[in-house]
Amino acid sequence: MGSTRLVGENYTTPDLLAKVTGRAKYAEDFRVDGMLFAKLLLSPFPHARVLSVDTTAAEAMPGVRGILRAGELPAPADTVTDLGETIRANPMGERALTDEPVYAGEPVLAVAAIDEETAAAAIEAIRIEWEPLPFVVDPLESLRPDGPNPREQGNSWGRAPSEAGGPPGELVVQSIKWASADWGEVDEGRLPEGDHQTDWSYGDLEAGFRDAALVLDETFSTPNNQHHCLETRTALAYWQNGKLFMHTGTQSAVQTVASISRWMNLDLADVVLITEYTGGGFGSKATGAVSCMIPAMLARKTNQAVMMRITREEEQMIGGLRPAVHGRIKAGFARDGRLLAVDMMTVGESAAYEAQGDAGTSGRIVSLVYQPAAMRMRSTTVLTNTPPRRAQSQPGGFQGIMLMEPVVWKAARELGIDQVAMRRLNAPVGKAQFGPPSGNGTLPHVTSSFLVECLDRGAELFDWPTRVARSGQRNGSTVRGAGVAVSSFVAGSVGFDGLFLITPEGRMIVKSGIGNLGNENVFDVHRVAAEMMGVPWDKVDIHWGDTANHLPWTCVSGGSQTTHAMTRAAHAAATDAIAKAKEIAARTLGGNAAAYRVADERVSDGARSMTLAQVAQQAIRLGGRFDGHELPENINRVTTTAATALAGQGLMGVARDTYPRDGTTFGFAAGFAEVEVDLETGRYKVLDFTAVGDSGTIIHPRNYGGQLLGRSVLGMGHALAQKTVYDQHYGLSLANRFYQNRPPTILDIPRNMQWDAVNLPDPETPVGAKGIGEPPVAAGAMAILNALSAALGDEIYRRAPVTLDTVLMALEHGRPMQEPLTAHI
């Protein structure tokens, strides 16, 4: 790399000043001449059919400009992939409005008026005749022999039969019920063992259990939880000359154009997305939110701009939830602690719309993180009449770790093995394998794992032996405990494009299609290209967040892909520009292109030299591929469009990431926590927390630390108090406010948390960097709950979050007292 060192250094991102001074404009901050405001009519029922709607009185109100019904929305369009493959739209999938709401709070219609007061009053003036339909909010209730179904057709997704060798049949909803005989163990708090939708295994499970010195069989439930983005999914839309202009938050500037065009049945070129700032996504705004269609349709209908501000309460409903997973794990351990066999089954919760894969992914992560010699995984996902499930930080991996960590904790305690040593012993090393097996029966493997190094560094930073020594010691009415947990998740995809220009003035203009949701990699990844080009950071301009600005094809900032995927793309684009610069230098100055190198804003071969500004001027003269008039064949069509618009303005670096990769990219983390429990109240406090991450080479240390600890806190919320609450009889939510669903506050987490990174490069990516967003989530949650077990013993809780009532009742009765399997309590 060049001498301008940027990778691994702290810096101030170009958006920071605007954010801290309040100058940054989020979707809600924009105002357009004559714009209207939209309000939603939400279903009061968990499942119902709209029989008739009378809007006469509402439409007669002064200031009401338009009412939008579900029937006016364009039909969901099929998706055509880059490979030309058509993915059929799911006719039973989630839409922006519906006449058959399948959860309470689902939008049924929308009103646009001159202000929100008028729109709200108009909603109240609308008469709807409803037909309430059967519903269920608890997946296990739905699985019972006579259990209710959330939709007329059933409670789970399946596929219609297909021809042998033909494409898979279309998605259908079908009914799964477990026989009465399966339910015997529920009263003892064990997840019943019914037939599952998926079933995979490897190794000799029976032998594993036969050889085990200790076999545990534990049931645990993880919580449903909102994403709690501080910015709700507000959207402002207007049309100009047939083009739709949309202001809204998203996890990918570029890929959201594709979803809007699909939802609205518009050409890609007719959608302009302005999304410079996004107040958090956590998976819930992956490629925008389908609700943004509502202001778009109302704007078309009224011929005026329409702002739809989403309230916190609406966000709680339409923003969606992380799916809860109810899990049961039977695990066999050798005397030395080695994990011999895991028999895992999960029931995942879903809305009555598209299901998330969390219940299945949980097994994949357990297989990777704890490396059982043999494993069987069965899972089923059940639809319910609750809000849409959306990916949430470490989707599925979080739940897998949450289900497995208490089992590993208990096993280590019973076998008399140190908890760090236990996790070290079973940790994945190097190109570790994991399930499920691929089609040919072999297990896939990771590109690298340095989890052992995370544990060692964390134990040192946290002073693990000292804290373990005082675990369980009583002081007055309090007792302390120290816990550790390990975690992992996917941390990188491949195949995206990089695009930048070196201008004739010698500046570097980088086009970034990444969403700016607060995690800074919208800028960070481009420092790789700047460093390779030898351009100092103050001569780099990043263009982001406005798709009229010619942005290249980019990954979604979800699943911790971005740092890995987009440093590769940046590397590819810089490699392309360097080759072009050297060729231009050789052509201009003479000599052999291979003898030239790019550094310090110059191209030189020792004797001869020219500036990058001069190279850019030459590139424009030479044209062709040098200035973007000829483009690589393999880049995405979005990048081709963007690069075509930029052609002729300087030296262009444009390329697709085609670097080889042996394995799948995963990041790892270890979390350490100490808690203090008050035995008279059951209340516990997190005293201290340390996290260490393995995600290869660190690009931006301060941002990395923020991600590592910030995501740990997201996990801590799931351990401490955060939850959804539903009355099962009425199918309605009782926790619609922050004070009711209780995300953690700044005072609930330790003041001085520590972090560190292993900082060893991943060998399968040119920059060595992987993502880190996801793994800390479960490490944060389970380090705390394990610390609680260290303080009190492991017969306290069987679900998360663990609130003081659970602790106090278990202490009173000497056994766990909480209902382990009832949903949303």
């Binding site: 209340r683 009355d727 009889h729 209780r742 003081l804």
Partner: protein
Amino acid sequence: MATIHDVIPPFQLFQPTTLDAAADLVREHGDEAWIMAGGMDSFDWLKDRTKRTEAVIDLSMVEELRGIREVEGGLEIGAMTTLTDVAEHPAVRDRFGVLAQAAALVASPQIRHQGTLGGNVSQDTRCAYYRRGWTCYRAGGNICYADTPTAINREHAILGASRCVAVSPSDTAPALVALDAQMVIRRGGQERVVEAEDYFVGPSRDIRHMTVLESGDLLTTIRIPATWAGARFYFEKVRDREVWDFPLVNVASAIRENGGRITEARVVVGAVAAHPLRLHDVEESLAGAMVNDETLVRAGELAIRGARPLRYNAYKVPLMRNLVKRAVRGGPTGTTA
């Protein structure tokens, strides 16, 4: 007609600047008037459109209702004094620390800056069913949704329930009852004084209201008599989060001792019933007792006598027992201090 739980509907806003004007407005508008102190309870109801009003009488401009005055060894606290001012006032801290502690543990700093003492003791219950607009007993209906086999009632009453199982959410209320405070209520030109213990009412007396305030009444002043100045106090609030949370259970006590023996005590528990529950039996058992394990155990057991937990709130029984023991024992509070 469809329902929307969003956007505050229009109303007439009155902002009187004198107590007389406020009292006149309250009397004039009677049932139609919504009296607003800091707004922390009011805005929630109005924004949800669950309760409505034609006229809001905002007391924030009435300077006479603000401030803390020292009177004959006791205090007179204007109903519109913010919780922050109560918590930070030197006389409250020095002589009636239990009230300062209680006020300092309400909600969050922002809410304490805006919320008032009068508002905190007059706020409505936080039963999630009732707040959502379900037509329960408290809302004029004929069912308690929080007391059905599937109801989520983790935060509800274990004592004193009568059809309705909602609880008082106030932190300052138990402290005021423990201090034998008096509430001064203005009605037109008339004033009456009600003991704090009688100010709060349960569902057996009035299932629609949490206090004795009737239409046309205005709480103007909270008087703290000198009685308990400098006593041994204890306040503890147990909640799920360290900040911005209502109590699951809170406890306030004031104890006078002589030579190691308790001479007189007040022990009051909040969030276990619809009103702060003064534990007269416990207080009697403490009179003349030494502070030892036997006394604590007896106090704890007496406290929970008659407790009837619901499906999800059985933990409140041992929690109340343990908090009463701690309140008698004194010393530093536990992890929630």
